[in-house]
Symmetry: none
Subunit: 415 residues, 2 copies
């Protein structure tokens, strides 16, 4: 039993507007255990609308549409449904009254063209719209049901919550509960993660485990469906354990957690302060840290040492070191971390250097090469990496690498 | 001659991720005059994928798909196309070499699993991917053509621009021209901009002018359609002039230009260097500047002075000033800018203080209050603002305000 979500409007197919209704409806259906197989967006073309509804009703039990219910000539949903089911459009007196009343309430006379909003294909029933003039349309067709809602998000959200969802539940269109557990990792690519997880990510497995990658963060999503919440949680728990076992310290957090959230929590746990000394990331590590509320107790500040003069003058990096090894080197990044820790008087200091490109790379030191160093009372740790990517990608990943080096250090540090 | 755009992935049909690829592709096709009739999103289900491609190829001449080309088991596009056209998957030696070379360049061995990315349905040809391991697939089918691209936006954008668009143009898939001119402004809200533009933004007007707002940047889009590029440009030109006249120096750039791009260009024009002294923005102003290639000649570095001790010790802000006025004050931000300019020896220094929240606000100094100061040889300019917003919104807008203060200063400075 699959659902399909249809979004209607040329403003979406032309790319002028971004469709967010389909995402919202998918999430609502997931919560009540109805899997969504398809989203379809169609322009304001009558024949295309009829065909899209025909295909949807043939492959999905539940079809939720939004858009095309307004009073203007390019609002075609009513007509498309009438053609699809080969019936006439008939006026619904109660709906007409409601639309007139809504205009009256706003002190306006209903324009004649709004009358069409009270027309319904025979066999359909109106869905109450408490937020606007366009009633929705509820149309059973064969084994399936089509529910059409307005395209305006606030009207659609309210109509789904108060009118459509209760009808779906009453019809027994419910597959229990679906929960989703997201586990975030850093340090391995997508295929590397999958190799370690092996059979866990096999297609068709229950619960399903999906992998997504976003800017060097590989996330696993355990999607568990069951009749009760307890059962769903019990289904997901062993998989989370298995993932954590196999990926070990590469797992840094869950759900919306980002590396900086975890780093700040660990700093607080150990009661350690930190400062930043940034070249290639140009302030991005500091900026990620300050997105976390309450960070000011642990993050004191930093030096953005973009120009070599700043490295020398503000971070006491010996000029000879830069001449000998180049600014993008293990030696210089170490000196920056040590200099920053001394200068700002913090427990830890994290430093970055690298080549973000697009120009400036050599064979020995290609664009994408990044060095990170962490200075602490235990000395200096460095790590390097080389990414293929745009300038901002290299900068963003370098900042993540830096945060991850701090995280791993704090995880291993005795308390 | 219509196009269909297919987005593949259970992470989209479940609503976990928002599909932005379809919108982007729709806009690109609009520019070259190809109307999009349908967007379809399908989950990672093999049968559903085959059927979705079958329907698309039957109703559209051009089918652009993204997603499902990765190396993992839920990447089904290759298989779906082979089933659709009833052929075998065959290995493409050149593609395999490219994938191996990409791993080698990063100093890694190609996992076995990535081999599948070199498989293509017989009759298809690979599309070069310069940004990642997954080649695209170009598959003529009957009168139509299917082009499959990776789901990762940066890879997809690049592949479309450099590989797919040229092929579409070469095949004569073009139906008139639509141009879109985007004009970016900072300093007025959406309704303020609309008030100044009045009749220019009326619905149904030709050319159409749309307003979009994103993180305090209000953009106007002039959309002009004509049979030739010259005609379309001639249609849009008077509107751009009118917008620039009415919004004056609030217009900072066009198309994808960001405030930092304009600031760096102005710094280069005046041959002036800059440094940053950031409290509330915590490195974000510096980070925005370093996204611009070639900035290193003008941006030397900065101090992230999050903690008051750093303001005092690194920026020579008198402690008494902080005690008397508070860290979030005109007086302190001015002292930071002056101290930073002296310390880093640059022509200009820009400083920020503010309350990003969520905690820490008072009646006199509410969350969202931001002060910005620019020190130059002509003295100090300050500006303050107060935004309602989340922590990251306040930080981001404060950084934009700072960049805008630099921009306006440089615009007015004689050369």
């Amino acid at each position: 039993m699959k659902a399909e979500i249809i979004s209607i409007g040329t403003e979406i197919t032309t790319g002028q507007n971004l469709d967010t209704n389909a995402q919202w409806l998918s999430r609502q259906l997931a919560v009540i255990g109805i899997p969504v197989g398809f989203h379809t967006t169609v322009s304001d073309d009558l024949t295309d609308n009829v065909n899209v509804f025909r295909i949807a009703a043939s492959r999905a039990k539940i079809v939720l549409a939004s858009g095309g219910l307004g009073p203007t000539l390019d609002d075609l949903t009513r007509e498309a449904l009438a053609l699809l089911t080969n019936v006439q459009l008939v006026e619904n007196a109660e709906s007409l009254q409601r639309i007139q009343a809504m205009f009256a309430k706003r002190g306006r006379v209903m324009p004649d063209r709004n009358k069409v909003q009270a027309l319904f294909p025979q066999g359909a029933e109106p869905i109450l719209n408490e937020r606007g003039t366009a009633p929705g349309i509820w149309l059973p067709i064969g084994d399936s049901v089509i529910a059409c809602m307005p395209g305006v998000p606030s009207e659609m959200f309210h109509m789904f919550e108060t009118q459509v969802k209760p009808r779906l539940l009453a019809m027994g269109f419910i597959g229990g509960v679906q929960i989703e557990r997201k586990i975030n990792t850093f340090g391995l690519g997508e295929s590397g993660v999958e190799e370690r997880l092996k059979e866990l990510t096999a297609r068709g497995r229950i619960p399903e485990i999906g992998i997504t990658v976003s800017d060097a963060i590989v996330s696993l999503r355990i999607i568990a469906r069951a009749t009760t919440l307890e059962e769903a949680l019990a289904l997901a728990a062993p998989d989370e354990l298995a993932i954590r076992e196999r990926l070990a310290e590469m797992v840094y957090g869950v759900e919306q957690e980002e590396l900086q959230d975890v780093v700040v929590a660990l700093l607080a746990k150990h009661r350690l302060t930190i400062a930043t000394a940034e070249s290639v990331t140009g302030g991005l590590v500091a900026n990620r840290l300050v997105t976390v509320p309450g960070v000011s107790e642990w993050f004191h500040g930093g030096i953005v040492a973009y120009d070599n003069r700043v490295k020398v003058q503000q971070l006491a990096v010996p000029e000879s070191l830069i001449q000998q090894h180049g600014a993008v080197s293990k030696e210089v990044v170490e000196a920056m971390a040590i200099g920053c820790r001394t200068k700002l008087g913090t427990d830890l200091a994290i430093a970055t250097v690298g080549l973000a490109g697009p120009g400036g790379g050599t064979e020995e030191k290609p664009v994408g090469l990044v060095f990170v160093a962490l200075a602490s009372d235990a000395g200096v740790i460095t790590q390097s990496f080389n990414w293929n990517g745009t300038r901002t990608e290299v900068q963003s990943r370098a900042a993540k690498l830096a945060l991850n080096v701090v995280r791993l250090y704090l995880l291993k540090r005795g308390s």
